[in-house]
């Protein structure tokens, strides 16, 4: 029982709250500095989307936890907040404001957790006159095998996280297995010299692939390539070089059927289409600094029979079917191209609710004390 009491005391103590807040300050500080070397995305993954921050001495593979990560701190802080409430606070009208404030904070922490778990970010790139029904993940790729039907394509997609050198992947719908002979997380493609081709079929006959160091820069992305071997019942069907460099899938014929394979950015298909009618990109006179940019799009949804025109511009996103389309960018080489950031966040309302609750709590609490002060003064 004493052990349980000790644990309860620990998780409900104010010291733990202070420790978590100080650790959070340190974490934000070192995590911000780490962006210099790691870039925003990697720094977020390492410091904030983790239970612990690890350090490896030299080039060893040993990983030593040196700081609590963002997930751990958030979880402990949430437990601490709820625990302290249950243990210490007793409801009274005098403390109603404090209750509301803390409820707001708990909802904020939970909301952040749900955002981390459920939010999906992608981008939709549209040229004027173009229609699309999918957006693309800007970080991760998928190995796809596509078969064509009369009106539809059937896509079997393997997420980048499954693709490592020397592993075998298979799917019940595919008559062959896919062996990843080589996974190159960042690569360049060059025309083949006199050396042997990297693959025995497809584009790999004409191109060489070279691995290059991973990049963490904000304005660059890693471009993976892979040498994949298809293995049917009778043995190897050959090897293919697949890469995000190639803008089209490669055709494989097997058992009288045509399959298309390739590596591409992960796609998120929608049950509606977006058509770019017009893209405007104004700059401040004499500079390249964007002044205003906007996209007039047509949204067509056959399920709801909607067909509407919408103007998306900075600070005026389109919220549609649970997704938010922000005017995010443009193509410096083509003024007809807009880039929309697409965010699906089922818990997007939570921060608003939380802020309202905290504000309400502050008004109630200060109002109560102000009222008390006025009454004393009157007396």
């Amino acid at each position: 029982m004493k052990i349980i009491e000790s644990i309860v005391d620990l998780f409900t103590s104010l010291k733990l709250t202070v420790f978590c807040l100080v650790a959070a300050i340190v974490l934000v500080f070192v995590g911000t500095l780490a962006q210099v070397d790691l870039g925003l995305y990697q720094a977020q993954e390492k410091y904030f989307r983790s239970l612990f921050v690890y350090w490896s001495p030299g080039e060893s593979e040993l990983q030593i936890p040196i700081l609590p990560g963002g997930y751990l701190l958030g979880f402990v802080l949430l437990l601490n907040l709820i625990g302290a409430h249950l243990k210490r606070f007793q409801f009274s009208s005098k403390k109603a404001g404090i209750f509301i404030i803390h409820a707001g904070l708990i909802i904020l922490l939970l909301g952040q957790f749900f955002t981390e778990v459920f939010q999906v970010e992608s981008a939709m790139r549209l040229t004027e006159g173009q229609t699309k029904n999918y957006s693309e993940n800007q970080r991760n790729t998928e190995l796809v095998v596509v078969t064509s039907g009369e009106e539809t394509d059937r896509v079997i997609s393997f997420h980048q996280k499954m693709l490592k050198s020397h592993i075998m992947i298979e799917h019940p719908e595919l008559p062959f297995k896919i062996k990843i002979n080589q996974w190159i997380p960042n690569s360049i493609i060059a025309e083949r010299g006199p050396n042997a081709p990297p693959a025995t079929r497809g584009l790999g006959l004409s191109y060489d692939v070279h691995g290059v160091p991973l990049t963490y820069k904000m304005d660059e992305r890693n471009v993976p390539s892979a040498i994949v071997e298809l293995i049917g019942d009778e043995g190897s069907l050959g090897t293919w070089l697949v890469s995000f460099y190639f803008d089209r899938l490669q055709t494989v014929e097997y058992e009288g059927k045509e399959y298309k394979i390739g590596l591409r950015l992960i796609r998120y298909y929608k049950p509606y289409t977006m058509h770019l009618i017009d893209f405007r990109h104004d700059k401040y006179m004499g500079t390249d600094i964007p002044k205003n940019f906007s996209s007039r799009v047509r949204v067509r949804n056959p399920e709801t029979e909607e067909d509407k025109e919408v103007l998306i511009y900075m600070n005026n996103p389109l919220r549609y079917e649970g997704e938010t389309y922000y005017q995010a960018g443009f193509d410096e080489n083509d003024d007809r191209v807009t880039i929309l950031q697409v965010v699906r966040n089922p818990s997007w309302l939570v921060p608003y609710i939380s802020c309202i609750l905290v504000s309400l709590g502050l008004i109630v609490q200060f109002g109560f004390h102000f009222n008390k002060f006025l009454r004393k003064r009157k007396a």
Binding site: Y41, T152, D208, V212, N222, G238, Y245, P271, D334
Partner: protein, 343 residues
């Protein structure tokens, strides 16, 4: 566009299965994966490339570009095999200049460049009115001249490879070609035969196809990926055959592996080196000799005829596959078609 979108499976350990409407033709100027590294991931998508025009020197001819090439040229060499020039836009890699230079040197079996030797390996050159760098390497294996210039966040590589003596004699033409390049010209078709326009990397340029004569009764179809052209033909009894044309680099993997791949496609056993004479025959064309491969699956009544035509540093494949009776009937028109290409 049909909009029925049916997700029939969902994320199971990273595997998704779904059905989507068939993709429409490529969107306007998608520009392929020209600069996949250099794009800001927070800005989405891949950067478009500017349109490229040039003036071709005497003796140069444009070939279909493939993969990541923006353009591809053959440079006639009266004494031997043609040299080749390719234009490739790649990520902004000048920071890794040494790494790239060593790729070229490695392909010629030259020792790698060091930080000390690298600066002396290039000379300034004019490319599209900008100052670029020209690297020239030669060895027993041949010679490589590469001109490099940055434009709008993309590094463009103009790489010419061939015989050492021929490369030296073409140096002035190469430099005048580089000067004639224009990154910003409007994408209008060239007026004459001496200028060209870059195709989207990865696309088989229909304008780059030979001027063949399509036999009567053949219906042109949309070429699939990696195909330069595709045709269908039907027989009077409902039989069908498909004719495809594609071009690949080098010998495209070799004769025997390709034949055995085709054997698999029509369902017959692979052959050995000793059997080659029974399925391969010479094919005389106006420009030189080619090879004709004929494969037959009697049990399934399927026949494949393939003409293999080497042109410069590439190999063109003219392939007819279909019902045996129809393929026999179309054999003569097929050969006429191949000959009409004038390769």
């Amino acid at each position: 566009m049909a909009l029925s979108l049916a997700f029939v499976g969902c994320d199971q350990n990273g595997v998704r299965v779904y059905e989507v409407p068939k993709e429409e033709q490529a969107p306007p100027a998608p520009a392929a994966a020209a600069n996949p590294h250099g794009d800001n991931p927070h800005m989405g998508g891949m950067a478009s490339l500017p349109k490229l025009t040039w003036t071709l020197p005497e003796g140069w001819s444009e070939l279909p570009s493939a993969g990541i090439q923006a353009a591809n040229f053959s440079i006639n060499n009266p004494d031997g095999q043609a040299s080749r020039l390719t234009v490739v836009p790649l990520p902004d890699l000048m920071a890794d200049e040494k790494e790239i230079v060593n790729l070229w040197r490695e392909s010629l079996s030259l020792p790698p460049a060091t930080d000390e030797t690298l600066p002396g390996m290039s000379e300034p050159t004019d490319i599209a009115g900008k100052e670029g760098k020209l690297y020239r390497f030669s060895a027993e294996l041949g010679a490589i001249h590469v001109a490099v210039v940055k434009h709008a966040g993309v590094t463009w590589f103009f790489k010419m490879r061939g015989d050492m003596g021929h490369m030296d004699s073409e140096l002035d033409s190469f430099k005048s070609f580089l000067t004639s390049v224009d990154f910003t010209a409007a994408p209008t078709p060239p007026a004459g035969g001496m200028t060209g326009m870059a195709t989207s990397p990865g696309s088989a340029s229909s304008s780059g196809n030979p001027n063949w004569t399509v036999p009567a009764g053949w219906n042109e179809e949309a070429p699939g990926p990696m195909l330069s052209a595709s045709f269908g033909v039907s027989g009077s009894s409902g039989q069908s055959a498909k004719i495809t044309v594609s071009a690949l680099g080098g010998n495209a993997g070799g004769l025997l592996p390709n034949i055995n791949r085709w054997c698999g496609q029509i369902g017959i056993a692979p052959i050995t080196e000793g059997d080659l004479d029974s399925v391969v025959s010479p094919l005389e064309l106006s420009s030189g000799s080619a090879q004709l491969v004929e494969l037959n699956n009697e049990s399934q009544s399927q026949t494949m005829v393939v003409a293999i035509v080497p042109v410069g540093a590439r190999t063109w494949f003219y392939k007819m596959l279909g019902d045996t009776a129809l393929v026999s009937e179309q054999r003569a028109p097929f050969l006429e078609f191949v000959k009409s290409a004038g390769q």
